[in-house]
């Protein structure tokens, strides 16, 4: 069971949380059919560093973002919803660290 560091509550066991899919998927204000279908259905599913949303549903109830390595399942960092996406350089450094 993962230990997930909720940015509001600290590290708590995985069964207090619910995964909510890939993070930083902006809801477009305007979109043609292809772009809208992309928004609805297409996700990156990478092998490696992945930024996803979790909700501390049995805790504070807050959604937040989480950087997880999909090969090692290691959680690299978490940050509040609305905070900016980490830069590519930061992600690359994290990726090395978690390999």
């Amino acid at each position: 069971m993962l230990l997930i560091p909720c940015p509001h509550c600290g590290a708590r066991p995985e069964n207090e949380f619910r995964n909510a899919g890939e993070a930083h998927i902006a809801r477009p204000a305007e979109a043609d059919d292809a772009a809208w279908a992309d928004y609805l259905y297409m996700r990156t599913n990478p092998k490696g560093v992945f930024i996803e949303r979790w909700r501390h549903i049995h805790g504070c109830g807050r959604f937040f973002n989480c950087v997880r390595h999909t090969v090692t399942d290691r959680i690299i960092a978490t940050y509040k919803a609305g905070d900016p996406r980490p830069s590519l350089d930061v992600l690359r450094a994290w990726s090395e660290h978690a390999r």
Binding site: M1, L2, L3, P13, E14, R18, A20, R27, A31, D33, W36, A37, L40, R53, R55, I57, G61, R62, F63, T72, D73, R74, A81, G82
Partner: protein, 995 residues
């Protein structure tokens, strides 16, 4: 008497406490401190089971949890039956009753042993080769035959009456294994004040020290030192010592699963204690001190009863005071054989010879054996054995010499191929193993978790090294956990230093005959070689094809030999061939331990409404809706469901009915932006809904499909009482929170679940208003003051209420929301007030019929996650002027507006009493060729008492353009003709809503 093979003194057994036990119905005696295995051996019993595939007689091989053969079933009475227990771990207790497995009719005479004669049929992959044809034979002939012939113990058939509990624990340092390394690690960590948990699978701490007779630590005999250290540790507040506790699984972020056997060893199990306990330990740091496992030698006939691991022979002599035989031949690749020879000699046995694979054995142990006058055969391999139910002869052959063999009489044959470090937990933690060429062993390499290995599992086999490495590891773990450092400590010790030595694979010259690698799954060296000849290269594939290492012992004694044989056959170095994955559990864990208290009524939470008890007392038949128990109908004496539902429906249409709607999801949406938020979450318009009014709300997901619906009351400009479907409540709240927290972050809105705060009583029917009128205070029920789809707050029966005027039946109706604690009292008051009018309680079944007569959809019944508002005929619920709401953009996607989508329609069977099956398919042409094109399906189907005939709702491709036409429902025995109609069957004009 406690057995002819018991030594007069020595060992950790209590000779003053004889214990009577039974094995296969035979009564025998052992001592307190024995295991079932040691007690059997003390009685001269080696034959304890039949092998998996060939039903060969098998004996006890090991002395610990790695035992592959000696699996027994223990019956503790009253349904307490546990199969596949290792006799080597079963502590003897009063009246222990164990039986052998996989034999019929008896252990001595087993019909299945005929398999041994047909063994050429059962070579590697025999399932795939032999039972190929004809295909239908597999299910009815081959599989039942194989299942009855092969196998382990039988699963119990009765429910397990025992209790099992779960515990959660946190610690700074978890130490796995309480041998010398583990004890030293725990001492170091405890000294820093760290919270320490020390677990060990054996009945007492000490590990290998429990069988030491020579070694001394800090001036005391090793076992005595271990007991003292364990006692001192257990006495500390911040240290927990857990004997009989196996660390079986490593989960992410240092969560370790421990299985504690709490009462099985007790003569009379303490009823206050659980049988077993699952510990889920979150450890900051872990020290793995799991020891090492001795390897068998692979030679023909190495599976005869009486052929044992050398160190097991030593342990039985030193720890249990048992002589495993009177005349021993020892085959070894290292010092272990010599130590065993000396121990057996001390226990009164004769040593016929030691055959050592090494050309030039030397060292303290070898010298001691030589001094004792034991015949040593250097550069000699064990070539085979003879015997029926017990080994009677061993044959030795000089390596590289002639084919001449030396035959020696014996009743026990001890073997040692060296030791395999127990890297299971390290490997489970995802650490990377490295192959140590000098030790010919895989050792812990790069860590992936916060752990460190110490002692034999890390390749340190000498006592001094184990103690020092353990202490260092414990200190490092405590420091890493932020607990400071202990004082340096050296453990003065005395005793022999064993020289390493080992052999992997089949011994030289192994030719004919079955040389077993995996005893529990009956895999031989030849099977592995055959697999490589047939083209298998990956060790993972060889494992699955031959089943080597796939038994319940997971190849503890066999994996390294198998790997070496495969590497040899492929002519590749061992590290290149690689190792198969270690998986949990380290040893089998009972289902009871995993389930814990989550059984029966505690398996899943049950949700009861405040009116549940009343319904139960009045004979309601319940159905499960999610975790809720809902009253389905209230049969009167002699009524079946059909009659009860017809009566309940008629009462609602003619007079009044009352329905417990408390399970409806309820969410209070509050804040200055509440209306704006609902505008975005629901398809409907909310901004101009006046306080005091209700509106039907339709919720879509972003893909434009119907997700939920419900009636929403505006209580105040900034306060809405939202209702959801019973099953959808948690999902709707999560969906709302998601958008509120991450998309519409500009809105000031608070969401609160109030589902369980309110009981909801629906009163429906033409007499509804008259019935509740005398009960309410401060509410004007007149049609002008309280029209359809309005809400008022006031009191009912003296209790605060949010009274909705709303209908899910098509009749005049009210829904009374009252605080949950008052639900039953108000329910009973309404029932009493309605008695004169003929009010009847109705259940979910009548509710379904009544709403279907009106064509009201149920989300999840008429919808399946692919139904749009247009499909369901709910276009009217979409606020056309709204710029945006969740799902709006999707409603103009090409697939959503394309023709051919399934649309909601009504169905009337040509034969009016025919009730269609829900889920049945619809076709246009009853004579079309099979498979027919299916153009729709039935979503709801009932007998309608009001209409005196059956009705159904369906989703049909372009259904609204087919109204009036005939379609067909193909059933196995006939074709049912139906006419498509609009989906409102009763009171199309909606006049009855006003009573």
């Amino acid at each position: 008497m406690s057995g002819a093979f018991r030594t007069a003194s020595g060992g950790r057994i209590d000779r003053t406490q004889p214990i009577l036990f039974g094995f296969d119905g035979r009564a025998m005696t052992g001592f307190r401190g024995d295991t079932l295995a040691s007690a059997l051996l003390a009685n001269g019993v080696h034959l304890v089971g039949r092998s998996f595939k060939y039903h060969r007689p098998r004996g006890i091989v090991a002395a610990g949890s790695e035992e592959p053969n000696a699996l027994v079933t223990v019956d503790r009475g009253g349904g307490r039956l546990t199969p596949n227990l290792r006799a080597t771990q079963l502590e003897l207790r009063r009246d222990l009753k164990a039986t052998s497995q996989n034999r019929f009719p008896s252990l001595d005479f087993d019909i299945g042993a005929v398999n041994n004669l047909f063994s050429p049929l059962f070579s590697a992959g025999f399932y795939y080769k032999t039972f190929m044809w004809p295909a239908s034979f597999w299910k009815h002939v081959y599989e039942p035959l194989i299942r009855s012939a092969a196998g382990l113990g039988r699963a119990p058939t009765e429910p397990d009456p025992d209790r099992y509990l779960h515990r959660y624990a946190h610690c700074d340092v978890l130490v796995i294994g309480a041998g010398p390394a583990g004890l030293a690690a725990a001492l170091a960590a405890a000294e820093t004040g760290a919270r320490v948990i020390l677990c060990d699978e054996q009945s007492e701490p000490g590990g290998s020290l429990l069988a030491e007779t020579e070694a001394r630590i800090e001036g005391r005999p090793a076992a005595e030192w271990a007991a003292g250290v364990a006692r001192a540790l257990a006495g500390q507040d911040r240290v927990t010592v857990l004997p009989r506790t196996t660390a079986f699984g490593w989960f992410p972020d240092n969560l370790i699963g421990l299985a504690e056997r709490v009462t099985d060893h007790q003569d009379r199990p303490d009823p206050r204690l659980p049988r077993e306990r699952l510990w889920q330990v979150r450890a900051r740091e872990v020290v793995i001190a799991a020891g090492a496992i001795e390897r068998p030698l692979v030679f023909p006939g190495n599976d005869r009863p009486g052929v044992m691991l050398a160190d097991a022979g030593r342990i039985y002599a030193n720890r249990y005071g048992v002589r495993v035989g009177d005349r021993a031949v020892i085959a070894t690749a290292g010092d272990s054989g010599y130590r065993a020879a000396l121990a057996l000699l001390g226990a009164g046995a004769t040593i016929a010879a030691i055959a050592d694979l090494r050309e030039d054995p030397a060292g303290a142990a070898v010298e001691a054996a030589r001094q004792a006058g034991i015949a040593i055969r250097p550069g000699t391999a064990i070539a085979g054995s003879r015997g029926g139910h017990r080994v009677t002869e061993a044959s030795l052959r000089r390596i590289g010499g002639s084919d001449r063999v030396e035959r020696l009489d014996c009743d026990v044959l001890l073997m040692s191929g060296g030791f395999t470090p127990a890297v299971h937990m390290f490997s489970q933690s995802r650490g990377r193993l490295r192959f140590d060429a000098a030790l010919q062993a895989f050792l812990p390499g790069k860590s992936a978790a916060r752990e460190r290995s110490a002692g034999a599992c890390n390749g340190r086999f000498d006592l001094e090294g184990c103690l020092d490495e353990g202490f260092t590891a414990g200190a490092a773990a405590a420091k890493a956990a932020g607990c400071g450092s202990p004082r340096t400590r050296r453990f003065a010790r005395a005793g022999a230093v064993p020289a390493p030595g080992g052999f992997l694979g089949a011994v030289p010259g192994t030719g004919k005959g079955k040389a077993f690698v995996d005893f529990q799954n009956d895999v031989t060296a030849k099977d592995l070689q055959l697999a490589t000849r047939e083209g298998f290269r990956s060790i993972e594939h060889v494992k699955r094809y031959t089943t080597t290492g796939m038994a319940t012992d997971q190849g503890k004694t066999s994996n390294m030999n198998a790997l070496a044989i495969v590497a040899g056959a492929l002519d590749r170095p061992i590290p290149e061939v690689g190792l198969t994955t270690f998986r949990m559990p380290y040893t089998p864990v009972t289902f009871g331990t995993i389930a814990g208290a989550s059984r029966g009524m505690l398996f899943d939470p049950l949700r009861h409404t405040p009116i549940h008890d009343w319904a139960s007392e009045h004979g309601a038949v319940f159905e499960d809706v999610g975790n809720w128990k809902r009253a389905r109908y209230f049969p009167r004496s002699g009524e079946d469901m059909h009659q009860a539902v017809a009566r309940e429906c008629t009462a609602v249409r003619m007079a009044a009915g009352m329905f417990d709607a408390s399970t409806l999801g309820k969410i209070e949406v509050v804040g200055p932006d509440a209306a704006t938020f609902l505008e975005r979450m629901y398809t409907n318009a909310w901004a101009r809904l006046a306080p005091g009014r209700l509106r039907y709300g339709l919720m879509l997901n972003e893909a434009g499909f119907i997700m939920d619906d419900g009636v929403i009351a505006r209580l105040a400009p900034d306060r809405f009482h939202v209702t959801t479907t019973t099953g959808g409540a948690p999902g709707v709240l999560n969906h709302m929170e998601d958008y509120l927290q991450t998309e519409f972050t500009d809105l000031k809105v608070w969401l609160t679940s109030i589902t369980e705060q309110y009981a909801v009583i629906a009163v429906q029917g033409p007499r509804a208003r008259e019935i509740i009128a005398p009960l309410v205070e401060g509410i004007d029920l007149s049609p002008a003051a309280m029209p359809h789809m309005s809400v008022q707050t006031g009191q009912i029966c003296g209790v605060a209420t949010r009274l909705f005027r709303v209908s899910f039946t098509g009749e005049l109706g009210f829904e009374i929301n009252v605080p949950a604690d008052h639900g039953r009292a108000v329910w009973e008051a309404v029932l009493q007030a309605g008695a004169a009018y003929g009010i009847v309680p109705y259940g979910t079944e009548a509710m379904h019929v009544l709403r279907a007569e009106k064509g009201y959809i149920i989300v999840g019944q008429e919808t399946d996650g692919t139904v749009t508002p247009a499909d369901a005929g709910l276009d009217w619920a979409i606020g056309k002027a709204k710029k945006d709401f969740v799902g709006k953009r999707s409603l103009s996607r090409p697939d959503i507006v394309a023709p051919g989508r399934k649309q909601l329609v009504g169905l009337l069977t040509h034969s009016p009493q025919e009730v269609l099956e829900e889920g049945a398919q619809l076709v246009a042409d009853p004579h079309a060729e099979i498979p027919m094109r299916m153009i729709g399906h039935v979503t709801s189907s009932y007998h309608s008492a009001a209409l005196g005939r059956s009705i159904a709702l369906a989703l049909v491709a372009d259904g609204r353009s087919l109204l009036g036409q005939t379609l067909y429902v193909p059933m196995p025995d006939r074709m049912i003709a139906v006419t498509l109609v609009a989906p409102v069957f009763y009171d199309q004009e909606g006049r009855r809503l006003d009573g």
